[in-house]
């Protein structure tokens, strides 16, 4: 099974009947001129990228914005339209006092499979003791956390919150909590690799395309910034394919991954098997 672990459904047609909400999403995500995506188009794109499943991410900065950007209910609704193609990850605003309860609800009632958080947008430190109740919910339900790490293009974000070192204390304190550093923590690729090497509960996804084209950027990140052998030999069970679509190009990134010189067995892990383990959907075999 091939999986894109990092997809933002903010512009999927079924959850954009309200034009004001669509405009809010363009503004807050700083993604423009992309139009709305009918599910038929999403499925065509998946076929061209040879993807079986997408992980759709909710986004909740409601204590700043006054409303959720992409709600857990909207993600659950999209999953219900194509449960054989979509999984959903919940989001809660960590500054919301009811966040643990809402996360519990997202896991139990809505069937979402993990938690998506953006420290650079919500301005929090993953090691903050106040967040322990959130991690407790995740651990109790054996659900992972996907963090935005590294640079963020979204409005009102600061990269310093996404530095890989910010996540070490959490990884160390909660060895049973699986966490993913989105975007491979770019530009801190080596620092992300360091965390993956030391902590088996830390994963990273490949959702980065900030310069050049997909082949060129992946070549820079994964064969020059770090040698490809680091992933192929040591980190092969902790890297997952992610695209950050629609910010970045899912089809070309999926194709570029295959050009880096990774072993076929490593590619299988990155393209899907590691995501299954991360999501608690099996042993990946």
């Amino acid at each position: 099974m091939t999986i894109d672990i990092h997809v933002h459904p903010a512009f999927y047609e079924p959850i954009n009947a309200d034009a004001a909400r669509e405009e809010l999403r363009h503004c807050e995500l700083d993604i423009h001129r992309n139009g709305l995506a009918p599910l038929e188009h999403v499925f065509n794109q998946m076929r061209c990228a040879s993807l079986d499943r997408l992980c759709l991410l909710a986004q909740d900065y409601s204590t700043q914005m006054g409303e959720t950007l992409v709600s857990n209910e909207e993600v659950a609704q999209l999953v219900s339209f194509a449960p054989e193609r979509f999984w959903g990850l919940a989001s809660v605003d960590p500054h919301d006092g009811d966040a643990p309860g809402r996360l519990e609800d997202a896991f139990t009632r809505l069937g979402l499979k993990g938690l998506n958080l953006h420290p650079g947008r919500s301005r929090f430190d993953p090691a903050d003791p106040a967040l322990e109740p959130l991690w407790a919910v995740c651990e109790r339900h054996d659900r992972p956390v996907l963090f935005h790490a590294g640079l963020s293009w979204e409005k009102d974000t600061l990269a310093e919150y996404g530095h890989p070192l910010r996540f070490e204390a959490l990884a160390q304190k909660h060895p049973r909590l699986r966490i993913c550093l989105g975007h491979f923590g770019w530009p801190w690729i080596r620092e992300t690799a360091m965390l993956l090497l030391k902590y088996p509960n830390v994963y990273a996804d490949t959702a980065a395309l900030y310069f050049d084209n997909a082949r060129e950027f992946y070549t820079q990140c994964f064969t020059r910034d770090i040698p490809i052998t680091w992933i192929d030999r040591s980190l092969r069970h902790q890297v997952m394919f992610g695209s950050d679509n629609p910010r970045f190009e899912q089809i070309r990134m999926a194709e570029a991954l295959g050009t880096l010189g990774l072993r076929d067995s490593t590619l299988e892990l990155i393209r899907g098997e590691n995501a299954l383990v991360f999501l608690g959907e099996g042993d990946g075999a």
């Binding site: 001129r33 293009w153 900030y210 050049d212 082949r215 970045f248």
Partner: protein, 142 residues
Amino acid sequence: MMFVRTLVLCTKSYNEMTVLTPRVEEIVLESGVQEGMVTVLTRHTTTGVTVNEALECLESDIQTALALFAPEERPYCHARMLRDYGSTAGNPTGHLKAMLTGNHCHFLIRGGVLERGGAQDVYFCEFDGPARREILVIVEGG
């Protein structure tokens, strides 16, 4: 008078050619225009509209010829983060191919029907699919 309809396509492949002729003819009939012109115009910059003979072999040759002009693996400048979009451009070949085909075609309308040569068909050309696309069909006359 001017009569305008928008055709919407969800293309399925990276590069593909779709014959639009029957839909254009229907719109001309619907317009009621007896003497005039019809323009078929794509609203996108990585798609084209062209006129050619609707044969599978020619479609293949056209795609091959366009790919010779704009091969995928070249160091194009249009491969960078675009601030206005908030996303990374990765479709230079689509723009270049669209430049070759052009973005529209015209046909004469006589006696209420599209007047075209025996081998002429209207093609919509996708060069950066899959995508949701819109094509304007503009009928002018009386």
